[in-house]
Amino acid sequence: MPEIFINGHSIQADSGQTVLQAALAHGHEIPYFCYHPALSIAGNCRVCVVQVEGRSWVEIACNMPVTEGLRVLTDSELVREHRKSMLQLTLLNHPVDCGICDKAGECTLQDYHYKYNGAPSVSIDPKVRATKFHALSERIVLDNERCILCSRCVRFTHEISKSHALGIQHRGDASLIRAAENHSFDDDPYSDNVIDICPVGALLSRAFLYKSRVWYLEPTPSICPGCARGCTVNLWHRKPEWKLNALDPRHNRAIERVTPLPNPAVNGPWICNKGRDLAKIFERARAEQAMQGGKPVELHAAIDAARQLIGKAKRRVAVVSSWGSNEELRTFNETLSGHFSAYVKSDHVPAPGEPNQDDFLIRADKNPNSMAARTLYPALPEAEPMFDDATDLVLVWGEGFDFARLPQRARTIVLNAYAQPENVAADVFIPLSIQTERRGHYTNFQGVVSAFEPCFPKPASVADAEMLFAALAERVGALA
């Protein structure tokens, strides 16, 4: 544990650390662009310069190993002067696009400019022009003028996603980030991570382009339900104070974008592209109307009818959702499962062309809580018939059930958040809330438990599954 000194303050560094890492870990500020804790050291931006006490020159901190007794200054006159100059050089050919650039408000270059430079350009020569709106892939737009060639995106595809899809064409100030011509970047299921790690507005999400200024949005921690990895994410949506009355209300409760919520135990700072597209999952057509035999009824009437069906049935089967939260599953287990033979289904299966499983994040099980559900109940039987002829009530919770496999005489109670044709055919249908409307936890395939928080209020006419199970079990009580 070498002791080093930063601006005279002693810190205990870890051997093997660089001065930059040690400084950041102990709360000392050193600006940087090209460094990223999960990527190899590039040392090309030259912004993290520091001065070793006694030397009359500056050196980059990201490639300086800590040694016992090393004394470093991060804010001397020399460092400030050089840092300012490096920023000016970084900005030399950078277009002043802030007014039209998505990155404004969360742009490292902007932040550093105001903090460490703040001066107008001293160049009177025209800026170097390059491609704007280059389609790096179908999902990602690249503006080469804004790019500062930190190479984080290139290193990401070589070291993390291993698609080797990005590189640098030409050289000097004609250098351009480009994707391999065989479209391997389109096939990289982790491509969108480069948008997060780009320190400027060079790499942008086409889906998010011009949708919203980031300061109108706030992130809510959640969990991607796309597979059993359960990467933690931030769902971004309008801040309450920025909800616009003039907008279609659906805009005010839309998920504008999804970013990783760094999680050392599960996904690190990354997510796959399916996680980026969670709006596609959460914003599907909802079922908001309770029904009996397809006819709209009040929610409480539907709950009563369901209770009666449960009370009258002799042989009850429950098909449990692998999207149920730990809390919902626990409540089901405590209230209803005594009266049912319960099985767990895979609400979602891989879509055609969807990556199945890899040695990085993506898991073949496309459901967020199979782990917790399977701890309680067995998987749905594969063989025919699924249930015996005596089954007279089937409670189906969640999506992805093949109703054709039901015994003819069984009555059905269907609990689902999303609109699907089978809802109408159920004896009783009760609409449910979705993940973004409540808090809860999932357990991933490794047993790690993560939390999700609500972003939006649930529609008034739908039920939270937890409350619903308790209500259904009321007065069912004494039955075997």
Binding site: G43, R46, L89, T90, I124, D125, L149, R171, G172, D173
Partner: protein, 432 residues
């Protein structure tokens, strides 16, 4: 002849580069001595004792570089001869490749033996076609004679030579860019630490030496470090191959004993300034060294220490002679165009700075220069000094600061009058 010769010791003929001629001159006898009578450490010790400095431009003592390699680390080591020779004004390694390839190869074998190297590379710039063919032919001859491959000269020492051709990039002459090029990628230089002698080619300990530096090893081992040190100066023993070009009557490659008087070299050995013109200035060691005026070199000797004391560097030995009547603004413009073209683009100060310098001087030449442009150029040069991944940023800075320091008046003139004081002339005037 400018002093004693150590390398250019034979007349160049149609066959002087061949193995039979080389052997007739005593070639490969020293290799026998090394492999049969010396230990690897003995070779390194002798090279270190010789005090030979690198002759590629940086001047780092070769022995000190070799000594970093841990012979007992159980991993492959590599040796690479730097034959990229891209520094404008420099063409002396080419002389060795074309006329004394076996001298280089025999030296490399000794270095490989000293450093426990199994694969030795020569990185030769892609444009050098004849040198490449001569070197390749020499490699074939040497293999056939049993000097490369398995069990060389019947000893346990095995070594293979690989000649690797570049493809057009100045920055691949920088040692780490060179190795990244041999790895089959863009020639991007690397940050240090780690030093290349710790992690170089494919992350293995690698020694990169200039062709001329290596070619001295045979002589050092054959005659001993002490004998080597009788030539040249105490701090810089030996000779330097000087490539002289520009406005000089007899351009070419000359071997000069270190410490030899500069003006004697120019006026007597090289025939003096072209067309009998007056000397204006000299770029001592490749365009990346600071220009020295005629007055400044009048009493100087060709010795790295002396040249450094005068504020410049002997660099790669690529000397460019400039006659009176040459426009220094245009000269710098050609240089800045070169640096801009060759910047690899990795690090911010060089990538942005080279383009900026080039654009400013183009604007000055176009008649739209402003007085503040000159200090701006000096500022950009200062920003590139010591802040870049490799020395290229520094190099452009030296060229710029050097010329501006001595010839600022020509730039002031162009900015004020929107034209050159010397008609933009780069060629040597024919009459005074």
């Amino acid at each position: 002849m400018p002093g004693k010769n150590l390398l250019m010791t034979f007349p160049v003929t149609a066959t002087s580069h061949t193995l039979p001629d080389y052997r007739a001159r005593g070639g490969y006898a020293t290799l026998e001595k090394v492999l049969r009578q010396m230990k690897p450490e003995d070779v390194t010790r002798e090279v270190t004792a010789s005090g030979i400095q690198g002759r590629g431009g940086a001047g780092f003592p070769a022995g000190r570089k070799w000594a970093v390699v841990n012979l007992n680390d159980g991993q492959p080591h590599y040796l690479c001869a730097n034959a990229d020779e891209g520094e404008p004004g420099t063409f002396k390694d080419r002389w060795i490749l074309e006329h004394a390839p076996h001298l280089l190869l025999e030296s490399m074998l000794m270095a490989a033996y000293a450093l426990q190297v199994r694969h030795a590379f020569v990185y030769i710039r892609g444009e050098f076609d004849l040198p490449y063919r001569r070197l390749s032919a020499a490699v074939d001859e040497a293999y056939a004679a049993g000097y490369w491959g398995e069990r060389i000269l019947g000893t346990d020492f095995c070594c293979d030579a690989v000649v690797y051709r570049g493809a057009g990039s100045y920055v691949c002459g920088e040692a780490s860019g060179l190795l990244t090029s041999i790895e089959g990628k863009r020639g991007y230089p690397r940050n240090r630490p780690p030093r290349l002698t710790v992690r170089g080619l494919y992350q293995r300990p690698t020694v990169v030496n200039n062709v001329e530096t290596l070619s001295n090893v045979v002589g050092i081992i054959a005659n001993g470090a002490e004998a080597f040190r009788t030539v040249g100066t105490a701090k810089s023993p030996g000779t330097r191959l000087i490539s002289i070009s520009g406005h000089i009557a007899r351009p070419g490659v000359y071997e000069v004993e270190i410490g030899y008087p500069w003006m004697k070299f120019i006026d007597e050995d090289c025939g003096g300034v072209l067309h009998g013109q007056k000397l204006k200035c000299v770029i001592p060691g490749g365009i990346s060294t600071k220009v020295l005026t005629a007055a400044e070199i009048k009493d100087l000797v060709l010795d790295p220490t002396a040249v450094e004391a005068a504020g410049s560097s002997l660099g790669s030995g690529g000397m460019i002679v400039v006659a009176e009547g040459t426009c220094m603004v245009r000269l710098l413009q050609v240089m800045l165009r070169f640096y801009h073209h060759e910047s690899c683009g990795q690090c911010t100060p060089c990538r942005e700075g080279m383009g900026w310098l080039h654009r400013i001087i183009d604007r000055i030449v176009a008649g739209e220069g402003r007085p503040e442009d000159l200090d701006r150029m000096i500022g950009i040069s200062r920003l590139n000094d010591g802040t870049t991944i490799c020395g290229m940023g520094d190099a452009a800075g030296y060229a710029t600061v050097g010329i501006l320091a001595k010839y600022r008046d020509e730039f002031d003139y162009w900015i004020e009058h929107k034209r050159s004081r010397f008609d933009g002339n780069l060629e040597c005037p024919r009459s005074s």
